[in-house]
Amino acid sequence: MIVDIDLEKCTSCGDCDPVCPADIIHMEEQGGRLVPVLKHVEHCVTCFNCEIFCPVQCIDVHPIVRRRPLPW
């Protein structure tokens, strides 16, 4: 699941928002600047798209997802 965006490094390019297939990252105005805001992170599908396409590598996705009920 996505865990962090380092806003100090972020250049506000907005690339991470559209590439998210789960609608987690929303570019929003904060303090006169567009920044990526995380919403509904529990619905992140751990696809790494945001981390892959961030040009300054300031996004961190953790490799583990919440468990689903097991078959037994």
């Binding site: 297939p21 529990e42 751990t46 396409f53 490799p63 689903r68």
Partner: protein, 566 residues
């Protein structure tokens, strides 16, 4: 005026869903209708979404050196005859042309001495697969670029909620909402292709992504099929791993609680190399006989071979494996507990060999189309490529042939009112509880993997209560609304899955009945067809046509009977 109700878009061909099926359908429609307008719509960004973007993109391709008829037979037999034979032949026939097209788009398929590097795939005897460098992400991106170059319109971040129909029942486009602003969108189209994949119950990782198109088609009167089949595969909840095939080639083994490599007992020929559903079936049997937990023992893989498992040409898997050890402290190369996991259904829209559904104006491609019930590793994308091409061509023909589409203002207004009532009520509760209740009902192996009449009837009763809760639920925002619609679609899919599983009184491929453990070719070389009834689904059966690969010799008949049958 429709354009006062929402954003109105007119197009000749509308393709919904931009995975492999939809990308190819849009390209094909444009090639076959160059003068017309083709629109590819997706709830997310075209080229970066769908299961396709996150797949390895291994794909079945039949080259001129191969024996096409033998490959058709291979796939039909591998599907135990649950296959649209003529459609599969068409799909395989265009696959080499599509491969060359993809090369022209800049996709690189590795070669040796000028020949494509291909490999066999689990469960198929002669049909071979290959994959492009960069896997599904690169595949989707190159196709997107090709669509842009050829003048296909892309409509992104629109979630389709309903299909539009005229008074005669013909599908004439779709209604949807902008995934961010909630703006109502009306697309009027002469022909509509649904390529929204089948339905998952959010099985984890990218299989949390699901599609709703099969149910849009169902609501519009289309016939669905293959609800009783699913995609089962061995997996671990600890990490995502698609490399079991290679791991086994390198020495890994499935073992039971007693340390026995049990697959040799169930599949003496294939053993651990058997298809994923045979592996899953054997795991369930081991469970029944009390020999769990079951493990995949990766410690048997030699040290020098391990490096390749920690990298992948598929970008997300590469990031994932690189982080697994450091961040999650998980060592893949031990004994990891494995389970048979139900990944998604095979429910799809029933079409003819030209990918036309039973409803005029509505076509289907990709996994939303029910070409067969098992796709092995490589025929998911293989079938998507081919059905996409075929559906796009048929849609172009229909767009030329059918008169201008009519969308009534009354229907547009009522859909808009219904949609906005569901997410503007200010309800704060998300659909997650509903989803968890559904998963708790479906994921236990006694319901979705090893089925039995008593347990399925019980599950159907419990499902009614979940469906009622789903119908009452409201969302606080557009994101919640989309999730809610998806979850309702899963609930309805669970119903179709249980009803069809009750009807098919035999075991075949992923459909395993504890109370009917044998395959019954005499009675069950049939499709179970599902249509929407007044309150409940209406199910009926239809014999499977076998024009190319004759049915298997009837089992259980005496030699005398068989001779008489001739």
């Amino acid at each position: 005026m429709l354009d006062t109700i929402g954003r109105l878009i007119d197009t000749d061909v509308l393709v919904v869903g931009a995975g492999a099926g939809g990308l190819w359908a849009a390209l094909s429609a444009k090639r076959h209708l160059p003068e017309g307008r083709v629109t590819l719509l997706d709830a997310h960004m075209v080229g970066r979404t769908g299961h396709t973007a996150f797949s390895n993109a291994w794909m079945v391709v039949v080259t001129p050196d191969d024996d096409l008829d033998a490959c058709v037979r291979d796939i039909v037999e591998g599907n135990e005859w649950i296959a649209e034979q003529e459609l599969i032949r068409e799909v395989l026939s265009v696959s080499h042309f599509q491969l060359l097209e993809m090369e022209r788009m800049g996709l690189v398929f590795p070669k040796e001495d000028g020949r494509f590097i291909r490999r066999p795939t689990r469960g198929l005897k002669v049909t071979k697969v290959l994959k492009p460098d960069g896997g599904g992400l690169e595949y989707c991106w190159r196709l997107r670029k090709a669509l842009e170059a050829e003048g296909v319109d892309l409509l992104e971040r629109v979630f389709v909620t309903d299909l539009a129909r005229d008074d005669g029942g013909r599908v004439t486009g779709a209604f949807g909402i902008d995934g961010r602003t909630g703006e109502f969108v009306i697309v009027r189209a002469r022909a509509t292709v649904l390529a929204t994949n089948s339905v998952t119950f959010r099985a984890g990782f990218v299989r949390d992504l699901t599609g709703t198109g099969t149910h849009l088609a169902y609501d519009a009167g289309a016939v669905l099929t293959n609800a009783e089949f699913g995609y089962l595969r061995p997996g671990t909840p600890k990490f995502y791993f698609e490399g079991i095939t290679f791991a086994i080639q390198d020495g890994a083994r499935f073992i039971n609680a007693q340390g026995e490599p049990f697959m040799e007992h169930y599949e003496p020929g294939w053993a651990d190399r058997a298809d994923v559903q045979l592996l899953s079936k054997a795991m369930v049997q081991e469970k029944k006989e009390g020999r769990t937990p079951l493990y995949l023992d990766m410690s048997l893989i030699p040290e020098e071979e391990r490096g390749q498992y920690l990298q992948s040409s598929v970008a997300w898997m590469d990031y994932f494996f690189r982080k697994l050890g450091d961040r999650a402290r998980i060592d893949m190369f031990g004994r990891t507990e494995y389970y048979p996991l139900f990944q998604m259904t095979k429910l799809g829209i029933k079409t003819d060999a030209a990918c036309r559904s039973s409803v005029p104006g509505l076509l289907a491609a990709g996994l939303a189309q029910a070409s067969c019930a098992s796709h092995f590793a490589g025929f998911h994308i293989g079938a998507c490529n081919g059905t996409g091409w075929i559906a796009g061509k048929s849609a172009a023909d229909d767009a030329r042939r059918l008169e201008g589409p009519r969308v009534s203002e009354g229907r547009a207004r009522s859909v808009k009112t219904e949609v906005s009532a569901e997410w503007r009520d200010g309800h704060e509760k998300s659909d997650d509880d509903l989803l968890r209740a559904l998963q708790a009902l479906i994921f236990p192996y006694q319901v979705s993997i090893l089925k039995h009449e008593t347990r399925m009837r019980q599950a159907l009763e419990e499902l009614d209560a979940i469906a009622e809760r789903g119908a009452r639920s409201r969302a606080a925002h557009v994101h919640g609304f989309v999730r809610l619609r998806e979850t309702r679609c899963m609930v309805e899919t669970a119903r179709l899955m249980l009803e069809a599983s009750l009807l098919r009184r035999e075991s075949r491929m992923s459909h395993l009945r504890e109370d009917f453990p044998d395959r019954d070719d005499e009675t069950w070389l049939k499709w179970i067809l599902i249509e929407k009834g007044r309150d409940r689904p209406r199910l009926r059966t239809e014999p499977i046509a076998t024009p190319l690969v004759p049915p298997p010799t009837p089992r259980g008949l005496s030699r005398k009977d068989r001779l008489n049958a001739r």
